[in-house]
């Protein structure tokens, strides 16, 4: 068998084994006798109900409407501030302390505070996501912009670039791989933040459904919610990586 076929067949098989074992354990009654893990059949019927009344899509879109603008705002803000603090030492000395203190906090610990300060609105939940994304992107962009290989800056001087040309042609592209890596971390954090935000203050969304399932102690609804949230985060990451590979083909092998 070819390597490429193996590389997806084996992971699929591993998932099938897991689901099969879960199903069998449910059929044999092992799960309900000895644990609170819901049998697969119960989870499936919970999922079917969620899909049937169209509620799932409302929750999905509610979450996406917070996650996507939050990621974009946080990433753009982090990239811009990071390039500025990475290049302008005085600005960094001025804003650095506040940013570093805030960054050192566990992101989720700030959510209840932010919800009170900004109120329980859509804008506040987007802000919470954006803040979660901002910090990893900021620190990555800051490091990247601050460590642009001097050999490329020499090229800029040799070719008599203006300062703006130097930014556009050397500093920004050289910082891009750092921003891309920071954003990948940011996307993972975005889902944590939207989940916490919705858990505490929302009436729609995947995180909200999980909080409801928690209140009524319905483990099958929790498993469906977790599966949905996990798949969404996984899909976002996969789409992101594919998009980056298509848009920035020079990144993979730039040092090869």
């Amino acid at each position: 068998m070819k390597r490429s076929a193996l590389s997806w067949l084996v992971p699929v098989l591993s998932l099938l084994v897991l689901v099969g074992a879960w199903y069998t354990a449910g059929q044999l009654g092992v799960l309900s006798d000895r644990s609170d893990i819901p049998p697969l059949a119960a989870v499936c019927s919970a999922a079917r109900k969620w899909f049937q009344n169209g509620r799932f899509y409302e929750d999905l879109f509610a979450s996406l409407q917070r996650v996507i603008p939050g990621i974009l705002l946080g990433a753009i803000g982090g990239a811009v501030v990071g390039v500025v603090t990475g290049r302008a030492r005085l600005v960094y000395l001025f804003v650095g302390p506040v940013l570093h203190i805030w960054r050192a906090l566990p992101a989720v610990a700030t959510v209840p505070f932010l919800l009170i300060v900004f109120g329980v609105s859509e804008a506040s939940k987007i802000t919470i996501v954006a803040l979660g994304v901002f910090f990893p992107v900021w620190i990555a962009a800051h490091e990247g912009a601050g460590h642009v290989d001097p050999k490329y800056l020499e090229v800029a001087r040799d070719l008599e670039f203006t300062p703006i040309q130097t930014y556009r042609r050397i500093i920004l592209p050289a910082t891009t791989p750092f921003i891309v890596a920071g954003m990948r971390t940011g996307i993972a954090i975005a889902y944590i933040m939207v989940f916490i935000g919705e858990w505490i203050g929302a009436s729609r969304g995947l995180g909200y459904q999980l909080s409801v399932a928690h209140v009524v102690s319905s483990t099958e609804h929790m498993v469906v919610g977790l599966a949905a949230l996990g798949s969404l985060a996984f899909l976002t990451d996969a789409i992101y990586r594919t998009a980056i590979r298509a848009l920035l083909p020079w990144m993979d092998e730039r040092n090869a």
């Binding site: 050999k151 070719l159 008599e160 703006i164 040309q165 592209p173 730039r254 040092n255």
Partner: protein, 251 residues
């Protein structure tokens, strides 16, 4: 060469000294290069060749006089193509530094890039990224970039140093053919004595930061590749070698 007397100076160096942390890397270097002339600087590793070119290109601080007429461009020791641009843009960006254009995609830059690539027989490489090229191809793109803005002075830092002997020799011939149509004063740095003799009008030895008086390379142009095997060439090579070794060979 008799016509040299009425040619203008492209580069004038006098008493150029560069020090790092109190150590003098270049000691009072003086050199005149005429317009359209090719001067080779030959020196061992660490003798200060790269430092000298950077001083001429004003990429580092030095004391003494550095006068360069017109626009200077450098071909760096490693190619230094920008990994995030395709070959076409890597050449095109060299065009816009001068005229305040905003990006490498200006039509002037693109046209010039296309022109140079077709002249180099590399049009098929225009849409590749630098990491998709061989070492020799990368070096030729770097040379195209250096010549794109029609500079008056080109500083070349061991451009063929990383290539195998046969490729290096064909690149030397190619450079001479190209230079015939794109006259610029060239300072060509190399550690390879033969390379210096094959290419240059004049050759100067750089030894531990001191530039010895340049000597005229007495071979007519265009130069036959078989020149390397002639007696006069071998004699000249031996002379330069003994200068490199600090005169110890001839003692």
């Amino acid at each position: 060469m008799p016509e040299e007397s009425n040619r203008a100076l492209a580069i004038h160096l006098e008493g150029v000294t560069v020090s790092y942390g109190g150590v003098e890397i270049l000691r009072s270097v003086s050199l005149d290069v005429l317009e359209g002339q090719l001067v080779a600087i030959v020196g061992k590793s660490g003798s200060g060749k790269t430092t000298l070119l950077k001083a001429i290109n004003k990429l580092l601080h030095c004391s003494g006089t550095v006068d360069v007429e017109g626009r200077a461009r450098m071909v760096f020791q490693e190619d230094r193509l920008l990994p995030w641009f395709k070959v076409r843009s890597n050449i095109a960006i060299a065009m816009s530094g001068q005229r305040g254009a905003t990006n490498g995609q200006t039509s002037v830059g693109r046209e010039r890039a296309a022109e140079l690539l077709s002249e180099f027989g590399m049009s098929n490489l225009a849409d590749r990224y630098p990491h998709q090229l061989s070492g020799g191809e990368r070096q030729r793109v770097a040379i195209a970039r250096a010549f794109a803005a029609r500079p008056d002075v080109v500083l070349m830092d061991e451009p063929f140093g990383a290539l195998d002997v046969l490729t290096r020799e064909s690149m030397q011939e190619w450079l001479l053919a190209f230079w015939r149509h794109h006259r610029a004063a060239i300072v060509f740095v190399t550690h390879d004595v033969e390379e210096g003799l094959v290419l240059a009008d004049r050759l100067a030895v750089l030894r531990d930061g001191e530039l010895l008086t340049p000597t005229v390379v007495p071979f007519d142009r265009p130069r036959d590749p078989a020149l390397r095997f002639s007696g006069a060439f071998l004699t000249a090579r031996q002379e330069v070698r003994s200068m490199l070794a600090g005169g110890r060979d001839s003692a």
